[in-house]
């Protein structure tokens, strides 16, 4: 791997006597987009601001491009190499043009160059016509675009995005996420992206950090995060619907079987010793649901159950199926599959889709 663009070593943040961010190491390479994901109050914004050099560190340090911030590189000089967008647009009084040029004028960029760069980025973000408008007259979406333009016009190597689209309506949000993803790729800008929406994260991020109570719980590629959560808590935070408890009943070479509420479940990956209590997960869309008696699909891990509840879930339906005495499994089924509460069904759990969590 090439030299990291930013490397944070053992950074922590204290607010009064409380440690709001526990010591952690974070690294980002040029062109990489790293998501900071977690519930409200997890410390995502705090970590982002710490990485952006906006908060005094209680411990640790930042290294940008091999230079230690505060020692080889002054804090202001570091902040002039990066840029940040926050959840609110935070525009200053004046015109759109003034706001977008602000970062450039603070850096002492000559006026003609300011003007041409501002014009080109406003056009790029499709708000060229707003140049002379006062910021008080903008809509929420327009204001957030201006805020984004004000950041991107600086053409930094590293951008910090703190839930920039959280307050926008869904169509505007999707459009802006798409445009932003294209720009980041095209300019090879690295970015940290705070979000509590995994759809947004999946559109932008290559890697993701999961936080809770100021602690990093997991750091992994987004795909692994969704399918292979490290712990029960990560699984819960990432919205994993099926978190199931079982006991290891057979362990023979690679072959592992779990006793899940009286049912034998075959797992292809994972480890455990006979008698161990384990927690395993499976994403609802990996659960195969069929009317009772339907024997199509893989033969392994096939169980009978009864539909308890059916909920609309976008263009699909989320079906709760009771299996055995106490276990309930969530399965995603296409809308055309006729399922009603009380109906007998067969569910199949593909062994490769099951994941045993480490703790």
């Amino acid at each position: 791997m090439s030299q990291p663009l930013l490397h944070a070593e053992g950074i922590s943040i204290r607010r009064g006597r409380r440690l709001v961010l526990e010591p952690c190491d974070v690294t980002i390479s040029p062109g990489e987009v790293v998501g900071l994901y977690g519930p409200n109050g997890a410390g995502k914004s705090t970590l982002l601001q710490a990485l952006a050099g906006l908060l005094p560190l209680a411990s640790g340090h930042l290294c940008f491009d091999g230079q230690r911030v505060g020692r080889d590189l002054a804090a202001v000089a570091y902040r002039r190499q990066i840029a940040a967008v926050f959840q609110e647009p935070l525009l200053l009084r004046g015109t759109v043009g003034y706001n977008v040029a602000l970062g450039l004028s603070l850096r002492g960029v000559p006026s003609p160059e300011q003007a041409s760069r501002v014009a080109s980025w406003l056009t790029r973000l499709q708000i060229g016509h707003l140049m002379q408008r006062r910021v008080g007259t903008l809509s929420g979406g327009e204001a957030q675009r201006v805020s984004l333009a004000r950041t991107l016009v600086l053409e930094p190597h590293l951008v910090f995005l703190d839930e920039p689209f959280a307050s926008l309506d869904a169509p505007t949000r999707f459009r802006l996420v798409d445009e932003l993803a294209a720009i980041l790729t095209e300019r090879r800008m690295a970015a940290f992206f705070v979000t509590h929406d995994l759809t947004e994260a999946s559109a932008l991020c290559t890697r993701c950090l999961v936080l809770e109570h100021g602690r990093v719980l997991q750091e992994s590629a987004l795909k692994d995060l969704l399918h292979r959560p490290r712990s029960r808590r990560v699984a819960e935070i990432t919205g994993m619907e099926n978190i199931l408890d079982a006991t290891v009943s057979v362990q023979h070479g690679d072959r592992l079987e779990l006793d899940w509420d009286g049912q034998q479940v075959r797992v292809t990956a994972g480890s455990g010793h006979i008698g161990n209590r384990v927690t395993f997960t499976v994403r609802p869309h990996d659960v195969h649901l069929a009317p009772d008696g339907d024997e199509t699909g893989p033969g392994m891990n096939r169980f009978r159950g009864h539909v308890e509840r059916v909920r609309r879930h976008g263009y699909t339906q989320l079906v709760s199926v009771r299996i055995g005495q106490t276990s309930v499994l969530q399965a995603l089924a296409p809308m055309h599959l006729a399922v009603t509460p009380g109906m007998a069904v067969t569910v199949t759990l593909p062994p490769q889709a099951l994941w045993i969590m480490a703790d």
Binding site: Q49, A52, L54, V76, R79, R80, I82, A83, A84, F86, E88, L90, L92, R93, L102, G103, L106, R107, R134, R150, L154, F160
Partner: protein, 240 residues
């Protein structure tokens, strides 16, 4: 109407007429009083702005131990009775007092100092209030855009210019109308420390209602013109 009452109204009318004559004929004493009023009040309030605004910004933006105590002190300063300021300053400036060597008693400089002490807390307090009304994350955004400490100060001043203008109006209005401290440290010396307020008090005491009324009208007019101008600027800015 009884004779005495009639006389009263007649004197009042003469006084008003005399006031207009004084104003329109450019009476040198009248104009000297007006000039001194403006010079002393501006000399006190302009430094108040230069000192009070940065202190207010710093107090609003930097969390530190004892900030509440300092804000309380400024609040007390806001409501400081001018007579008390005048008294303390007079005692300090007495010939054998701690600041007697400065020889400032009964000089315009002493009046400027008194009015500065009175107006500075107003500027600090209203600046703190103006900044605290802004989004607390605005400073973070300015830093993130690469602003240095001084650039941030400038951006905050720019961002709060309307409430700061209002603060200045409040400070100027209260200073130019203040009489207690002025008369005590200034002494109402003609051509030097005689300003509109002290002159009104004196002339009324001496029964020169024409002069007192002329000064009263001027004072009112000055306040209206200054505050009106600032209000106009403020309203134009709001519309933009």
């Amino acid at each position: 109407m009884p004779e005495a009452a009639w006389q009263y109204w007649q004197d009042l009318g003469d006084g008003l007429l005399g006031a207009f004559v004084l104003l329109l004929t450019g009476d040198p004493e009248t104009w000297s009083v007006i000039r001194q009023s403006l010079v002393i009040s501006l000399s006190a309030t302009v430094p108040s702005v230069l000192v009070g605004v940065p202190i207010g910004m710093w107090m609003a933006l930097t969390p530190f131990r004892g900030r509440t105590a300092l804000l309380t002190a400024c609040n007390v300063g806001y409501g400081l009775p001018p007579v008390v300021v005048g008294l303390i300053l007079s005692i300090l400036l007495l010939r054998h007092g701690p600041l007697g060597f400065l020889n400032l008693r009964f000089t315009p400089t002493a009046m400027v100092v008194a009015q500065f002490i009175l107006s500075c807390p107003i500027m600090i307090n209203l600046t703190v209030a103006a900044v605290q009304q802004l989004n607390p994350k605005l400073g973070l955004q300015m830093q993130a855009l690469g602003a240095s400490r001084w650039q941030m100060l400038w951006l905050f001043v720019r961002e709060t210019r309307l409430p700061l203008l209002a603060a200045y109006m409040a400070a100027f209005g209260s200073i130019i109308s203040e009489v207690g401290a002025s008369v005590m440290v200034g002494g109402n010396l003609p051509g030097s420390t005689r300003v509109l307020t002290t002159a009104i008090v004196m002339e009324t005491g001496m029964g020169h209602y024409d002069r007192a009324m002329a000064y009263g009208m001027i004072l009112l007019l000055l306040v209206v013109v200054v505050v009106g101008t600032f209000t106009l600027i403020q309203q134009r800015e709001v519309r933009l």
